[in-house]
Each structure stands twice: as C-alpha cells, then as structure tokens.
Subunit: 261 residues, 4 copies
Amino acid sequence: MIDVQSFEDDREIPLTKVGVKQLRYPVRVLDKANGTQHTSARVDLFASLPQHFKGTHMSRFIEIFHRYKDDLSMPRFLDMLGAIRDALAASAAFGRMRFPYFIEKRAPVSGLAGMLSYECCYAGRVGEGGTRFTVSIAAPVSTVCPCSKALSERGAHNQRGIVRVELELGPFFWIEDIIDLIEKAASSPVYAVLKREDEKWVTEHGYDNPKFVEDVVRDVYAALRSLGRFPRFTVEAENFESIHDHNAYARAEYAGNASAA
Amino acid sequence: MIDVQSFEDDREIPLTKVGVKQLRYPVRVLDKANGTQHTSARVDLFASLPQHFKGTHMSRFIEIFHRYKDDLSMPRFLDMLGAIRDALAASAAFGRMRFPYFIEKRAPVSGLAGMLSYECCYAGRVGEGGTRFTVSIAAPVSTVCPCSKALSERGAHNQRGIVRVELELGPFFWIEDIIDLIEKAASSPVYAVLKREDEKWVTEHGYDNPKFVEDVVRDVYAALRSLGRFPRFTVEAENFESIHDHNAYARAEYAGNASAA
Amino acid sequence: MIDVQSFEDDREIPLTKVGVKQLRYPVRVLDKANGTQHTSARVDLFASLPQHFKGTHMSRFIEIFHRYKDDLSMPRFLDMLGAIRDALAASAAFGRMRFPYFIEKRAPVSGLAGMLSYECCYAGRVGEGGTRFTVSIAAPVSTVCPCSKALSERGAHNQRGIVRVELELGPFFWIEDIIDLIEKAASSPVYAVLKREDEKWVTEHGYDNPKFVEDVVRDVYAALRSLGRFPRFTVEAENFESIHDHNAYARAEYAGNASAA
Amino acid sequence: MIDVQSFEDDREIPLTKVGVKQLRYPVRVLDKANGTQHTSARVDLFASLPQHFKGTHMSRFIEIFHRYKDDLSMPRFLDMLGAIRDALAASAAFGRMRFPYFIEKRAPVSGLAGMLSYECCYAGRVGEGGTRFTVSIAAPVSTVCPCSKALSERGAHNQRGIVRVELELGPFFWIEDIIDLIEKAASSPVYAVLKREDEKWVTEHGYDNPKFVEDVVRDVYAALRSLGRFPRFTVEAENFESIHDHNAYARAEYAGNASAA
C-alpha cells in the first residue's frame, strides 16, 4: 500500500512539531490519598520531523498513548514520550496532558467533605538535547484586596482567583502538597461545601489576610524556593476582580540560584 | 446544474430547524449615546423545512444577512428573518445574534471613563403562528453576601456576578436603560477604571447593600415588572462565589399578569 | 447562629430555580462493557424557592450530591434529586450533569483499539407535576456532502460533524447502543486510531454514503422512532463545514405518535 | 489617601509581569480596503514590577488604553505600551490584543460577497532590552488529505483547518496580504457564501491540491521566507480531521538566515 507520508520532501524545511491535538482520553494518575485516581485528559502529542520526510504517521501517537493510559505517573509519561520518539525515529517527542485532579477537602470548622478540582498539566520533551518535564497545577483561591480594606470604613472587596505554578521536575513530589502550599499563600482557600460556621471562618480569615495578586505570587514563590526542590518554576495569579469585569494578574519566574534575588 | 437539495424526500420527517450556526459578522446596532455602534456578532440562522424537501439552500441565509449587516436595529432584524422566510418559502424563519455591546461608563467619584462590554442577544422567529422577538442582556455586577456579613465580625465575602435578562419585545427600549436597572439591583455596579476614591465608594456601597443571587433576581424582576412594558421576561443571576469554585444561581420567570404574584 | 436565608421575604416573587452551577466532580456511571466507568462531570443543581423564603441553603446541594457520586446510574440520579427536594422542602428539584463518556472502539479493518469520548448529559426534574428525565448523547461523525459529490467531477467535500440526541426516558437503554445507531446514520463513524487500510475504508465508505445534516437527522430520527422506546426525543446535527468557517445545522423533534408524520 | 500599592516590599522578589487581563474593548485598526475597521478586542496589559514595590496601580493601564482605542494601528499599539511604561515608571511594559479582523470575500465563480473573520493578535514589549512586536494571524482553510486520495478508489477525506502565523515585525505589511498567502498554500480557501457553481469549484480545486498539515506549514513558510521581510516567524496548521475526533497539527519556526535550511 502506498505510503505518502514517507515520500521524500525537497522543500528543505524541518518541522519542529508534528502530531495530534485535542485527544480526549480517560487516564489514571497517582493520588496521595487513594493510590491512583481516574480522570479524563486532553492530550497533545508531537514529534519533530526532519526536512526530508513529507509527513508523519499520526496513528502511532494514539497507539502508543493507548498502551500507557492506565498508569500515567510522571515517570511513565516520559516513558510514553520515549516510546513515541523510538517508534517514529524522531529526534524529539513532545507531549502535554491536561486533566482535572480531584481532592476531597474538608470544611475548616464543620469538617464536611466535598470534592475540589484542580487543573493540572504534564508537559514533556524527550530527545536530543535532553529530557525536560514540567508539571503545572492550578488552584482556585479567595483573595481580599489590601487597598480596598485600607481605604474603606467597612468591608473590603474580595474575589475568587486562580493560582497556577509550573514546576520543572526535580525529585518526586505530590500534587496535593503543592496545592496546600498555594492555598496557604492566599487570603483563604476555597471549598466545595461550607456551612454557616465555616462561612464565618472563611470570611474572617480572608479579611485578616488581605493579599494582592502580587502578594500571592510572591508568597507562593518564596515557599516554592524554600523547598529547594525545583530547578526552575513560574508562579502566576489571576483574580476575577469583584469590582471590575476584567482580571488582575501577576507572574514571577525562578530560574535557579543565579537569578534569585 | 443538478439541485440535490430540491429532491423529493419520502422519509416523511419535517425538520423544525435547518440552517447555519456560528457565523461571525461585523454588524451595526443602535446606540443611545452615539446613534449607532459597530460590534462583532455570532449569528445562527434557521428555517423550517417541510418533510418533502431533501435539503435547504444554505447560501441564501448568508446572502440575506449580508445585506442587513449595517443596520441591525431590532425591527430590521425581524425584517431580515422575514426576507429569509420568503427566499426559502419556509413556514418559519428563526435567528439569533449574540454580540458584545459597549458602553462608556464613568467611575462613581473620579468620573474617569472606561468601556464596559455587555453580552446581548437578539432571538427571533417570523412565520406561521406569529412573530416572536426577545432580547437578552447580560451585565456584570458585584454582590456582597448578606449571610457572610451577618455572621462575620468583620468583612463579608463578595464577588463578580452576571445578571441576564431575556425580554419579550413590547414597545421600543434602550439596552442602556435595562443595564442601568440591573446595576441598581446589585450590591454595586462594576467599572472598567477605578481610582482609590472610587474603590472606597464601591467597597462601602456594596457592603451597605448585601444581596444574595435570589435578591438580585427578585429586585430586577420587580423593577422590570413595574415598567409594564414587557409581556414576558426571565431574570437570571449567577455569582462566581469567592469562597467556592462553583457558582450560585437564581432564576425567575414572568409570564404576564396571570402568573404574577 | 443567625440564618439569613430563612428570613421571610415579602417581595412576593417565587423563584423557579435556585442553586449551584459549574460544580466539577468525579463520578461513576454504568458502562456496558465494563460494569462501571469513572469520568469527570460538570454539575448544576437547583430547587424551586417559594416566594416567602429569602434564600436557599446552597451547601445542601453539594452535601447530597457528594453522597451519590460513586453510583450515578440514571435511576440513582433521580434519587439524588429526590433527596435534594426533601432536604430543602422544595416543590421541585432540578439537575444536570454533563460528562464525557468513553468507549473503546476498534478501527474498521485493522481492528486497532482507541478510546473515543462522547459528551453526555443527564437532565432531571423531580417534584410536583411529576418526574422528568432526559439523557442527551453527542457523537462525532463524518459526513460527505451529496450536493458536492453530485456537482463535482472528482472528490466531494466532507467534514467532522456532531450529532446530538436528547431522549426522554422510557425503559432502560445503553448509551453505547444509541451511539451505534447514530454512527450508522452518518456517512461514516470517526475513530481514534486508523491505519492506512482503515483510512481507505473510511474514505470510500463515506463517499458511498453522502449525507446532508438534514439526512443524518432524519435517519437518526427514523431509527429512534422505530425503536418505540422513547416517549419524546430531539435530534440535532451540526457539520463543521470544510468549505466554510461556519457550521450547517438541522434539528427534528419527536413528541409522540400524535405528532409523528 | 493611603496608597498601599506604593508600600515597600521586602520579600526581594521582582515580578516579571503585573497587570490586567481579559479586558474587552471596542477598537479601530487599519483596513486595506476601507481605511479603518471597527472591531472588538480582548486585551491584556502588563508591566514589570521591581522587587521593592508592593503593587502596581492597575487603573493606569485602562486609562491609557482608553485614550488609544480609536486608532490602534501597529505603531500606535507600541506607543500605547510606551505610555504605560512611562506612567508606571516600569522597566518594561507588555501587551496583547486579540481581535477578529473582517474581510469581505467573493465566491470564486459567482462572485457573491460575504464576510470572513480572521483571529488576529498584536503582542508587544517596550522597555529595557529593546522593543519587540509580533502580529499573529489565523485563517480558516480547507485541506484534502493526500494519503486518503492516494489510497482510495474514490473520494478523499478533507476538512476545515486553521493556519496561524506569528510574524515579528519588520517593514509595514497588510494583514490582507498575509491571509492571501495562507489561503494559496491550502488545498482551497473557505468562503462565507458559495453557490453551486462555487461549491463545484472549491471541491475540485481542493481535490486537485491535496495537502497534509505538514505541506501547508511548509508552503506558508517558504512563501513568508521568500518575502524576506520578517526577521522571525512561526507557522502552525491544525486540521479538524473529518475521520477523527482529534486534530492534526504541524509547526515550523524561522529564526533568520542562520537557521534557515
């Protein structure tokens, strides 16, 4: 059967990435409390394509990912990329897998349990020039505005925000521990279920800990840096401002000791 | 040239709607302050299809809409649907046009100007069984939680919310006036630009006017009903809760005097 | 502790729906091949609110849903709504749960396996005036344009489309069987993984079965009607036209024998 | 009035970006056929924040952007960033403005006119280390699969795709000319309105020009490179495969003569 993808290509233009996007797949990842967790992912998989090939065989990406779907711990994700690279004889393979990660969380006073969802993303590269792997984790939080509190005789505007960290992998870590660190840096965590005694606690706790997006980013940054485990990371915070229809945003980047303040 | 769409169909299944979706078009609508306003719309256009036709001629929808794009006042939108109905010899034509409507708004104390965007939608039907036209308008607002305020010794959680009304058309009205009515029913309007003196005002004004989503819906409902201009309407409010990662929601429906409390 | 939600309200405006939206939860549903399936859902839960109450207790929705999350077969979903209705002493409770449903599917010639995702939604109402439950299922398909094929000397434009049915519940059915019925009504199913021999089959099979969105809707409609199991249903098809940047759409509604042609 | 943002910060963590996101604004940009074009934009604006300041004054971003909204040609966009940098005394200011750009396009045979929308984005940086400005332009196209055509006895699968280029600014250019270049590299352009004679043309023209995503990327790349006007650019193509529920993707990067093949 004719194999058009393997035809010679004489345009002399190498492609940095060729592959599949927006694949939806059920996957299993590690879970600190329960061993493993079932979730549903959106997956992009790519390989580099040398200039002399016309196309890549895109079915291979899916065939290989399918074999790994039931155990996508971080090291296995890199193994999967390695298998793609080998199958396609590519100089590098790339992949990204976004998924909601669910954690059962208890209300701060009543102790009632509900599930919260945290958007996570594995992103990796395996190939010539080395392996690279980052995990990003996004946690919803609550922030109270320090300026509004300082200016106003009563109340202070506050809002839901989202904090996202992207961590370059060093030693093993639990997603749960990073989420915990993020929530401690906000004015207050958010919860799935809150009774009145909990709502009072969250309101007062938040009011006592006013934070700009700038503050949240710096406090998460300082906490991550003090762990000393991640060679590089970025921290972003975005507030869905309650007094505007746009968002407030801040970002910091850590690139190792050289650039640390 | 062969016309497959006009073939006879013997499956005896009439289609309630056939047409085009997700058309993006630049349009011009009426503007209270400036005469007309340029904006960009997403448009869906449909006609009913009798059981004996195999298909509709979808290019006609676009040809006709294109002729109307520079003047899409509410009556002209219905004229456009009438033209589609005639061109396709359909028993009814339907359409929906969603667009951001921009208003320049001044901060409450400093008076500084910024633009705010309000998602609007025209939805109409022209045909056997009569004409129907509704306009929906969504306004971002700020709400302060009455429960949190009552329970807490300091502060009160608050958040951005969105209030959407859908109005069945009676006499002419300005979108601006409905937005004004919605904003008055919230704890506070939101603004594009706020200096410190404005932020103090918004914070204190909101704190002095705590509202559940239920309250906002009822106050908008009462204000719309008292206008006595809309034969039917619905009101929805959705709060992006600052203490949760989900939203709070309420909805009321007015169906004329018969069902009014 | 003060309970603001239970305050009397004298605005005399009943709310048709009050509740929570955009809750993200891990859930388990029935699976024909594997017994049960883990997936992740977006959930909206509401109750009606009589005019004399100021607000509802939104934490109850989550508390109750949390208890049901590990077994959300269709009857259990209605039980869950019944429990919400009881807990809130509401005249009616409403709910909607959207989730990707995953099925392992084999390529038509090579037999290679990959997962496909089908967006499903349970929507129910329990209360005065009866129980209502619908399941909607959306399947991606491939369609070849009959007009393009008839007019052109070679080729025919084709595209990915999505077919969505909404079924009012009668006797038990498997989601898998409905998907199978939809795919048979398209020009061709789509697949996660296709080798060259499969791609040839899909291309030729699609070319031999050209279908407008109108045809797909009618053929799904006829197949569902002939099952005689669903008291009411709707069928929609939307094509991501390869020759346009907008979509083609058709819809039919079945409301029992009275309205059947 | 107290100015919390100007407080000293001793955490010694500089922020790479602080600002506002998801601002929606009506703007005016240059238009080859009509002089200027009104459209609606989503805007993100940032400045760097030195480590010794606690926060930035976010209202300034909006005040300044508001003054520029009626003339956002590419050079004026950079002027606007310069004004932000000055107002905030920041070492750098950054901005991104995404907007649909509308072009009236005529069907290839009938000559009928319809509007098409192209997603564009200006992205700039003004500050220490120099000025950087890129424009990205995304055009929907139609692609016919060469593999499917070669393997199949009749037909060939085809689909809508999207091609996006990101161009680092050299001399002035028209968005229209880049779109024209992209459309020529696809199997066929897409259109808003097509009569039967046009549909025949598009089908046959596409069938005669089969292209993988890899081919489209390479042909756009070669055409851009031969213009010799852009110091750096990237080209991406994504196909909404008609035989899959995921997309095919390719990307190439041009970084000047040194890296050109």
